[in-house]
Amino acid sequence: MTNVPTDPIDPYEPRLARRVGAYTDQAVQPIDAAEIARTSAVAARGSGVRGALLGRGRSPRLAWILVAGLLIVAVGGALIGAGTRGLLGPAPTATPAPVAMRACTPNDVDAVITAWDGAAGSRIATVELHQIGTTPCAVDPLPQPWLADGHGTPLLTGKAGAGTPITIAPGDVLHTLVQAGNYCGPEPAAPVTVAFTEHDATFVATALSKTDLSGVPPCNGEAGPKNDIAMHPWAP
């Protein structure tokens, strides 16, 4: 299909419009408009709840600063304390999932490490989980986190926690921090990344780079804690 502009500015335009029309035919696929409308309504209601949690009068930047601050405080508490769970308790979770909401699959989400930070004997990954599917789905707030090498071999394996599943709509992004410590094994294959397992699905985060090993925590001694890896609950 060709959409030719009605205010021509150059004789070449109709030809280019035809080329673009032919080129973009491959992007046009059958849709269910009613389903898209229903999904949009559900997703928009989810955004409304998040807006209420963050404060509607605040700017998005301020809201994210507040969320980041809460995460930093919670992880700081975890580092000071004996355990790796936040002393402040679980962060507020996003929209509680409806009873029948399906669990997200690896096709629905895209996990990405955006930073590794070092802290007294530990490494902390900042991770984003992007909902890249076409319909809402739910993830566990505390799946089983693990540190993986470039071959997918677990280096450290944590434990899953309980909590109400979080519904995420297409385009939503969740955030978490994963802390790993005391890895005393052989030099792992690059890139080292984190992964999350819940039910039958595993979401492997994209590493910072193909050669990244910055997430390998130092060995604090064989007598130290084993499988020292934990995460903050997923939060918007």
């Binding site: 502009p5 070449y12 029309g21 080129y23 696929q29 408009a33 928009a44 955004s47 076409t134 297409p170």
Partner: protein, 186 residues
């Protein structure tokens, strides 16, 4: 659709009428997908971008005062989603197409697949255009998409991207010269 009917449909959709919203989806989804594809160069990503755009449209439809501006607004929302999605997934813009795709096209042609897309000539033309678009920056691709995938006027484009119509025409003239040269469409 006459302006009054369009106004009524937009008003109904803005108050939460899913049936009215579905009619808007049915009328505009394809053009939004075309626009997204020009912006991001990937069919799957384009579909994801349009899917991500609709909840935002649902949430902000009430801000559309003039139904005549609905279509420019919809395609611009989709274009921005495509741009952001491509950036968030670190999509590389340089296409690597020549050998494999040419082989694929030749193979499809030799197996008597009689679709236009299997035609090596058409495929080569599409790849040329994809490569030419890949040389543009994302904002320029948005302008090209709004103009030649959605057919917006320069004034409509100016309103949705925050430029004057004259500024859009000047930028388009520059882009046209560049694409004409890249595509050897002299």
């Amino acid at each position: 659709m006459d302006p009054e009917a369009l106004r009524g449909m937009v008003a109904s959709a803005a108050t939460g009428d899913e049936v009215a919203f579905a009619r808007i989806v049915a009328a505009h989804h394809d053009d939004m997908a075309r626009v997204c594809f020009v912006v991001c160069g990937d069919v799957t990503l384009a579909q994801d971008a349009v899917q991500a755009a609709w909840p935002k449209v649902w949430a902000k439809l009430g801000t559309v005062r003039d139904p005549a501006k609905l279509r420019p607004w919809l395609v611009s929302v989709a274009a921005n989603e495509a741009k952001q999605l491509a950036r968030s997934r670190n999509r590389r813009w340089v296409r690597e197409v020549a050998i494999d795709d040419a082989t694929e096209s030749a193979s499809a042609a030799s197996s008597n697949v009689s679709t236009a897309r299997a035609d090596p000539g058409n495929r080569a033309a599409e790849l040329d255009l994809a490569n030419a678009l890949a040389t543009l920056n994302p904002d320029d691709r948005i302008i090209i998409a709004l103009r030649y995938a959605a057919g917006l006027t320069s004034d409509e484009i100016g309103r949705v991207i925050g430029m004057t119509g004259g500024g859009v025409r000047a930028r388009l003239a520059r882009l046209l010269n560049r694409l004409r040269e890249e595509l050897h469409d002299d």
